[in-house]
């Protein structure tokens, strides 16, 4: 029902206005996910096709290499798994995870 971490009605801008730009980064959409993309590091060639296709900018990279997946924002759409040319990403049902 309630989430103590979220702000109360007296603390948020009125009317749902966004008065501070770029706040979507702090908004969790990962909880919408029903299945999670999991990467097989051994199979991954770092071609970054997944990074190109991800609609939520959830493929994390550093110096041209895939470093992880941003589960705080990933909605579990599965496009990365579908597009991966070496099938290094699998969609795993969220019930398999406890976090």
């Amino acid at each position: 029902m309630s989430d103590d971490k979220k702000l109360g009605w007296k603390e948020i801008p009125e009317g749902g206005l966004i008065i501070k730009a770029g706040n979507s980064a702090t908004y969790e959409t990962g909880s919408w996910r029903s299945s999670r993309p999991v990467r097989d590091v051994d199979k991954c060639t770092n071609c970054l096709i997944c990074w190109v296709y991800c609609p939520d900018s959830s493929i994390l990279t550093s110096e041209g290499k895939l470093t992880g997946i941003d589960y705080y924002h990933c909605k579990g759409c599965g496009i990365c798994a579908e597009e991966c040319p070496v099938k290094a990403i699998k969609m795993v049902d969220e019930k398999e995870f406890t976090d």
Partner: protein, 394 residues
């Protein structure tokens, strides 16, 4: 006060109020019985007597949408409508209030279709009673003029920031000519003051987003804010009324008590029927009957504590609704008042009369018969049918 007295219709008086308010934007579509208001105001625009950007739209849905855009941009914005026009605005009424845009809208009460009808009842504004708009009802032309001016200050108050609709009865008040005391232009201009914008879209140094997706995790909190804001409006209504009295000499409250304090029987009613009822109260008082009237001015927010306090000493109350809430336990006014009275130590006998739908007249003989009904209820202790349809052919 030396303000000028003019014989004028309700619509023209309200158009004059809008001219004096001189809003930044007016977006409106004509509909009977509001048409003469828009027509008169468009003359002021054509004659260059106002600075208002008048947006002629293709529907009321567009009218309210244009108002939302203009208000979010940071302007003082007005429109006006009636009945089916209000119904067509319905979706955007909620967008206006949820975005906390203090749009002002004279709303001329008319029966909703169907069957199609152009005359007065309150079914239109009552349908919007949960839309988080402030609702103020006017008995006559003077009140329609005064309430329009006061609504600006109430809606725009920083503790409120909600839109407001000002009701007056279609044809009875909108087209009836009455003597009205207008305030001087400069007094009204000073009273409404400069529009205080909040988060205007045109302030490009402080960019904001209006109307983003708002799901289960924040929508409820935003609704809770609205509930608080409209509750705040009650005290602001009184503050603004006090200030208005200083410039007009006319007194306004949450409601008007007419011969009520020592009354045993009373009628509760909105708008023009209150005028008819006052006449009857005067006549019956001459005969020594302890009858009174409570005329509600503010319906949203509903001042339930104050109303219960004002009514609890009575023996019997007739609550008159000029609209039905089909399938409900009585009309909208009845359910609110009956519920408000539940916390009183002594609950007066109460009965609901649904009357005047589609403009059916209610006259002094009718009102007298309702006071007679109440007398019988007091004598016998029996209410009979709790919700009555008054003046309908069986």
């Amino acid at each position: 006060m030396n303000n000028k007295i003019t014989a004028i219709t309700g619509n023209e008086a309200v158009a004059y109020a809008i001219k004096q308010i001189n809003p930044d934007v007016m977006a409106a579509y004509p509909i009977t019985p509001q048409t003469a208001l828009i027509q008169k105001f468009s003359e002021y625009v054509a004659d260059g007597l106002v600075d208002t950007e008048f947006v002629t739209v293709e529907s009321e849905h567009s009218a309210m949408s244009a108002c939302v855009g203009a208000a979010a941009a940071g302007g003082r914005v007005m429109t006006a409508t009636a009945a089916n026009g209000l119904a067509l605005m319905f979706e955007i009424l909620y967008v206006a209030s949820s975005n906390r845009l203090p749009i002002i809208m004279p709303m001329v009460n008319r029966a909703l279709s169907g069957p199609i009808n152009i005359h007065c009842d309150h079914g239109d504004s009552m349908a919007a009673r949960g839309s988080s708009w402030i609702q103020i009802y006017s008995e006559n032309v003077q009140e329609a003029y005064d309430n329009t001016i006061q609504a600006v200050r109430i809606a725009e108050h920083m503790q409120v920031r909600l839109p407001a609709m000002v009701m007056y009865d279609g044809f009875i008040t909108s087209h009836g000519i009455e003597c009205v005391e207008f305030l001087d232009d400069d007094k009204v201009a000073k009273f409404v003051g400069e529009y205080p914008p909040r988060y205007p879209l045109l302030d490009i140094n402080h960019p904001v987003t209006y109307g983003p997706l708002d799901l289960y995790d924040y929508y409820f909190e935003h609704k809770r804010q609205q509930a608080e804001a409209i509750k705040n409006a009650q005290k602001i209504v009184l503050e603004v009324a006090e200030e208005f009295k200083q410039i007009s000499g006319r007194e306004y409250g949450l409601f008007e008590e007419y011969q009520l304090s020592d009354a045993e029987r009373a009628i509760v009613v909105l708008s023009s029927t209150a005028g008819t009822t006052k006449q009857v109260v005067d006549e019956l008082r001459v005969k020594g009957e302890k009858v009174g009237l409570l005329k509600l001015r503010l319906f949203r927010p509903f001042p339930y504590k104050e109303i219960a306090k004002a009514l609890s000493h009575l023996k019997a109350i007739a609550i008159l609704d000029r609209s039905d809430s089909f399938g409900g336990f009585g009309g909208p006014l009845f359910t609110e008042i009956r519920s408000a009275l539940l916390d009183s130590e002594k609950i007066p006998q109460n009965v609901n009369y649904i009357y005047g739908l589609g403009g059916r007249d209610i006259n002094q003989t009718d009102i007298t018969s309702i006071y007679t009904d109440l007398e019988k209820i007091v004598e016998t202790g029996k209410v009979g049918e709790r919700v009555k349809y008054f003046g309908v052919r069986e």
